[in-house]
């Protein structure tokens, strides 16, 4: 039997990881918040929270709401800005032996380009582009809901960095495959999906929205069926690697995504429920490889038998 390290080794867009289980942006802080609960060096990769050019205070009012088997969040991209990230946070993360990716958000194509440029030589493993942000020049329509806007973000980011670039797709679209093909054609090295579904909750006592921002992003087990479907559809269509996420709570969930074609997965909301989820998913994948007598976890990727 091969050694565990080997079993789970994964490479996505040139980023080498000990295993395919990554921490999803916005749910794992800067990583260090969780260091007391698990060994950060045993995580596939950490995607730090959504970073913008300038510091952002985020949304007012209530920012989260629980929903059946899920949660809504409307954090509003609160973050200290890219300079503070580079100066204060990345140095700490360098002490760990884990690839770190920065998730970037902008309101214009230029902002994305600028962010990529600043992050280029900071020693991070890659950039994840969050295209679910509103494009202020196009009336606030999210970049991620229009193939051309998404493609131009990707092209600009690629032009400004030599780092591997992963584009994170928004599920709030009619045709996820068209989006995936557009960002692939624009040069994205990999795709991650799904970001949150836009949802809402209403307080029937106060007759007000529960969230200060009215709408928020739905995540957690509730969205898993939609995420899995989109990952499967995208994997059929693109050649670049796909990272799947959306409601992964267990190793079994992760395996579903990998069978559907994901080369790696990210764990998001589950970190809140159990900070040791990533560790448990990693262990579960190892056990699965052994139990099914596979040589490595990559043996399951895309092996879903349809008819």
């Amino acid at each position: 039997m091969s050694k565990p390290e080997h079993m789970l080794q994964t490479e996505v867009a040139g980023i080498r990881m000990k295993n395919p289980v990554m921490a999803a942006s916005g749910t794992f802080g800067f990583g260090v918040e969780y260091r007391e609960f698990l060994d950060l060096n045993q995580i596939g990769a950490i995607v730090v929270k959504g970073t913008t050019l300038k510091p952002r205070a985020g949304n007012c009012g209530r920012r989260i709401a629980e929903t059946p088997a899920g949660m809504l969040n409307a954090i509003g991209l609160e973050n200290p800005g890219v300079e503070a990230l580079i100066d204060n946070i990345l140095p700490t993360l360098r002490e760990y032996d884990v690839p770190v990716l920065v998730n970037i958000s902008g309101n214009t194509v230029e902002e994305y380009g600028e962010l990529a440029k600043r992050l280029d030589k900071t020693g991070i493993a890659g950039i994840e582009i969050n295209i679910s942000c509103p494009n202020v020049k196009e009336g606030g329509i999210a970049f991620g809901t229009n193939c051309d806007s998404a493609a131009s973000v990707v092209k600009t980011v690629k032009a400004n960095t030599a780092l591997p670039v992963i584009t994170k797709l928004s599920p709030n679209v009619t045709d996820i495959v068209a989006m995936a093909l557009a960002v692939e054609a624009a040069g994205s090295d990999a795709i991650s999906l799904i970001n949150t579904l836009v949802g809402m909750a209403v307080d029937i006592h106060s007759w007000r929205p529960v969230l200060g921002n009215v709408v928020g992003g739905l995540s957690g087990p509730a969205v898993k069926p939609v995420a899995l479907r989109m990952v499967w559809q995208v994997c059929q269509a693109v050649k670049i690697p796909v990272i799947g996420m959306g409601g992964i709570m267990t190793a079994e969930d992760a395996i579903e995504f990998m069978l559907a074609g994901a080369s790696a997965v990210m764990v998001g909301t589950a970190n809140f429920v159990d900070p040791q989820t990533i560790e448990k998913v990693v262990t579960g994948l190892e056990e699965y490889v052994v139990k099914r007598d596979l040589s490595c976890i990559q043996d399951v990727v895309g092996k879903l038998k349809v008819n």
């Binding site: 916005g26 749910t27 794992f28 802080g29 918040e33 969780y34 007391e36 609960f37 929270k49 510091p55 205070a57 985020g58 209530r62 920012r63 989260i64 709401a65 629980e66 059946p68 088997a69 899920g70 949660m71 969040n73 954090i75 609160e78 200290p80 957690g220 087990p221 709570m249 909301t269 970190n271 809140f272 429920v273 159990d274 900070p275 040791q276």
Partner: protein, 255 residues
Amino acid sequence: MPKLIVKATVVRHTNLTSQVKQLVLQAPDIAEQTVPGQFVHIRVADCYEPLLRRPISISNVDRANGTIYLIYRVVGRGTQLLARLKPGDLLNCMGPLGNGFTLQGERPLLVGGGMGLAPLVYLAATLCPNPVTVLMGGRTEQEMFWTGIFKSLCENLHITTDDGSLGQRGITLDLLPELLKSKSFDMIYTCGPSRMMAGVVNYAATYEIPCQVSLEEYMACGVGACLSCTCEATNGPRKKTCTEGPVFWSGEVVL
């Protein structure tokens, strides 16, 4: 103070009112580490409903027995499930979380309202043998099981109820000016409804007494990773209630 995830054993579970319960948990590692003002983040059920943990203040500690005390009100599904626990059951708790109160001053005043009194019990117990004064408010006598709890810990107990069924009729803030005038406190701690805390902070400023407030925010992670709980700071970026709080100096945050 490392943060832990433990399977705590329910030792005792008692009704304080029809809606408020006290839960005693065997959790020696948490009991060992914790200081007043901290909380535990509880996974009330091993399923997705509810999905998130529930933050509950540590309302007292018995280090000798390795137990922690929680006092909570049953308000929704999470606390309803909590209310079903029986002695011997296991409960998944993360903690101790958050920053506790700064223990300083020789003549402290504690001002609490409603469930905000929970962390003040542990604080009062820790501040002894300094003479502790507690000003507490509630809606009605039935809710004031707190007096029984605080009596053994404090020299002076001042009580208001909305309906006058116990102590003075009115709200805590009504009694505060007189109290501040008549005695010389050197530290004020407050926890409860934000309107009450804002009032306390005002008086504290007037009388130039240092003051700490303990905030409540909706929390997902409890460890500073999700930013669901940040509150407005008087100065600089927002602060995380879960890790930089829940206890803040009155001057740090906007109530």
